[in-house]
Symmetry: C2
Subunit: 226 residues, 2 copies
């Protein structure tokens, strides 16, 4: 028997995703659940980043993870092994999640007793940026091997994120045409308020700062509820 | 003045993209133009691969490149510097090209006098796989840093491709959990006829084989026209 559910979500019937996302955000706020929408290209390191994040936070926060994928269950299995609750959401070929698909996942998951849910969105820098999932905050991961020009090519993704992790910084010596200064400047030109954190999910570099960001955001969120 | 046109393509008005793609394929065959649809994740190395491919083939083939991107013109500029014809296609936020969008690009480009057109599709492993562009053949690039599990997670992309380049093989010692055997086996399980070629666009490793594949396909295509 599997340790996690697999949910096949259906395309939203709502025409107005933005309004629906706002509604979901309010529902979650009422429950005191902070939902982080985590986006990236395929292979940027979402799951590895999550595993390390969970290891650092699971004694302090009650964490759940929703793994969205077109087809496989590779990621839910990896997450469940960290000892937190996880489900696998199958999008049935869809390249993103909207608010209602996210709600279907959360409903099956049961958010009760959780402080922090991470939605690992489909690996894609285009479509997920266009659909508000109802998340409290948006995060994305850009990995060093992808190149420092990605903010120029996928501007909407960088514009909608509250925090950008630059991952695989342990490979900067191999990808020596990647400029940390250039990528930060390009991100801030699109989105001056975005936090940019340089990390390596492999070595743990930068994770103290990333975990501090999460804890500070959750604290402010809960203070704002009172 | 720019050395390349920028085309804003419009969403297709055709309901039946498959039929339209077949029509475009026949139009191109009549003209003797081989269209290669090149797909990958953001940052897998499409443009670098193209630049090296052009350098090896431009004395033997008349090459044109259509760079599809949501927004920027970074790639068309890079290609034009190799000395071949290039245009930039802007998709207006769309995450893929369909056959009619491809046709709009080709019409503006003018395929006359070209043997080989490469369409560099939007960086995305999901949506481009779902839309036949009318190309003669489909190619994709998976880069080593993305991981060898990608065929499990984006099966449709690997199923629709005639050839898969595994790029950035010069970094295999850094990404030492990437298994060449595993990735090849996963690809062939989805698509037994796919050619898998291990390359590095940085060092040139594997490019003799890749260029041989292109020349053989173009030769067979032209023999089939007679």
């Amino acid at each position: 028997m599997k340790d996690y559910k697999v949910i096949e979500v259906k395309r939203s019937i709502f025409e107005n995703n933005d309004a629906d996302a706002q509604k979901l955000r309010e529902e979650l706020k009422e429950k005191g659940v902070f939902l982080l929408n985590l986006m990236s290209s395929p292979g940027a390191g979402k799951t590895t980043t999550l595993k390390r994040t969970i290891a650092m936070l699971k004694d302090r926060l009650r964490i759940g993870v929703m793994e969205a994928d077109i087809d496989s269950e590779v990621d839910a299995q990896a997450i469940i092994e960290t000892g937190v609750r996880a489900i696998q959401i199958h999008t049935g070929g869809m390249c993103h999640l909207d608010a209602d698909m996210t709600r279907q996942g959360i409903r099956e998951f049961g958010p009760e007793g959780l402080d922090f849910i991470v939605l690992e969105n489909v690996g894609n820098l285009v479509c997920p940026a266009e659909f508000d999932t109802g998340s409290t905050k948006n995060a994305m991961i850009l990995s060093v091997p992808e190149g420092d020009d990605k903010p120029l090519k996928y501007p909407l993704m960088f514009s909608v994120c509250d925090v950008v992790l630059i991952n695989k910084c342990d490979t900067l010596s191999v990808f020596d045409d990647f400029s940390k200064e250039a990528v930060e400047e390009r991100i801030h030109k699109l989105n001056p308020r975005a936090e940019v954190i340089f990390v390596s999910a492999k070595t743990g570099e930068g994770f103290e700062e990333w975990v501090r960001w999460i804890e500070r955001e959750i604290k402010e969120y809960n203070e704002g509820r009172q």
